[in-house]
Symmetry: C2
Subunit: 264 residues, 2 copies
């Protein structure tokens, strides 16, 4: 039999999800493959949202934008169906969460445009590969996320503050963490801030706006990266008549490898 290649792990994961054989959080599934946050919006809002992402590449790193009405991510996962191949979806109407569903087939409209956005799994892998431990992973927690006073560049109807994720990094590894994540601009890239949380409007690291707080040891600095929650928050902020996203932790697995997005 053929050796299972790294490519087929992503295809296999999507097939099992689509056929309802497996559902769950996708962290650690098909390792080495880039996983995507989803934001699906009506065509009327798509130009402004695409422009918002273009202006804010750190919180909104675009992996692919699917042709209006189409359901196949031809560039990052040819043959896949964006309505069925993530392991869970959320439906928002007029900016309000209304349902979590396994598939979008019953809700699809021909005017929808699907945005696939990079997530932090890729650079977290690169950091652990570089010997930089990640506290939230060690403790089995969700990463701590904070709403900052850093304003995104607005575009049309979309505007709002940047959300960041925080990872405590040993002082002696901070430079290496900057270097390693700088290589992945398509998955949030270099940190947006190091140290002093108050400078970016965070009053208490023990009270994250999303996720879970983690301990910061005396020999560590809090390091902040732009977070993929930003585009979702900004999009919902303008109360679109309809918006779909992936369910938290249940990302869309692409065929792309982390290394495909490394700039050096």
């Amino acid at each position: 039999m053929a050796v299972q290649t790294i490519e087929s792990a992503a295809v296999e994961a999507r097939r099992r999800i689509r056929s309802n054989q497996w559902r769950g959080v996708t962290s650690g599934v098909a390792p080495g493959h880039v996983q995507a946050n989803l934001a699906i919006l009506p065509r009327d809002l798509a130009f402004d949202f695409l422009l918002f992402c273009q202006r804010n590449p750190k919180p909104c790193p675009l992996l692919e934008v699917i042709e209006p009405g189409s359901v196949e991510p031809v560039l990052t996962a040819p043959g896949a169906d964006i309505r069925t191949d993530a392991s869970g979806y959320r439906i928002y109407r007029n900016g309000e969460f209304t349902a979590e569903v396994d598939t979008l087939e019953d809700y699809w409209q021909d005017d929808l445009v699907s945005f696939l956005l990079g997530c932090s799994f890729s650079f977290e892998t690169a950091m652990t590969d570089a010997g930089i431990p990640l506290r939230h992973q060690e403790q089995g927690k969700n990463v701590a996320m904070y709403i900052t006073n850093i304003q995104t560049a607005s575009a049309g109807v979309f505007s709002g503050p940047m959300v960041v994720s925080m990872r405590p990094i040993k002082r002696e590894q901070v430079v290496r963490a900057v270097q390693v994540t700088s290589r992945f601009p398509a998955t949030h890239g270099a940190p947006v801030h190091i140290g002093s949380p108050g400078d970016i409007g965070i009053r208490d690291l023990d009270l994250p706006d999303f996720g879970e707080a983690v301990e910061i040891k005396p020999d560590e600095e809090p390091v902040f990266w732009a977070c993929g929650v930003t585009p979702q928050a900004v999009a919902l902020n303008c109360k679109p008549p309809l918006m779909f996203t992936h369910a938290p932790g249940r990302m869309f697995i692409t065929d792309q490898r982390d290394a495909d997005y490394s700039v050096l």
Copy 2:
């Protein structure tokens, strides 16, 4: 008197152009500042064109997309006017070149969207700073450009082959040239091909499709970079009712510094 800062050189250059005190090719003007190719299209085509650029970042590196109808590049040149501050413009109707003008003021429409795209000046500066000589600059020629058999990723109505520029690089400097240009993904970035022109559909290096041929010495390899002519060619290919561009060599000078776009 205040010392003239590097920022003011760009503002000054745009002021002199706007007030008709100076017009000319912008190579070497306001050194260290990023210059932009312009493509200005009706709103109807803007989503597809933005998507085309997003899918083809090497030939179409977006520096800024101005809000529909607006004339001010608020992110890269606040206070500037895109209709008056490039040193020359071309007007195309239904894909045909109809006029070259000094200003777009008499031709402006409220549905127009302006795209500012990175050009190769930034990475050429980085290469010469790194001790890599550029033959076309030494010989006072325009860089040689070729239509390839590399297909761009199409988006809506936009599709077509990639155009590349070629620079002969000493074999011992090819690796360095890759490294140096990789740091500037916003201005075409790393080469798309090294050596063997036939592999990318170029039959004769002495017969460029645009620009001028240059000599390749025995100890040199031809190195190919994605070229900013690509988006113009692709846009005109679909015969938009109206399209404006900068005139060849007469770029729009932004306030951004080359270093702002270096990823490392």
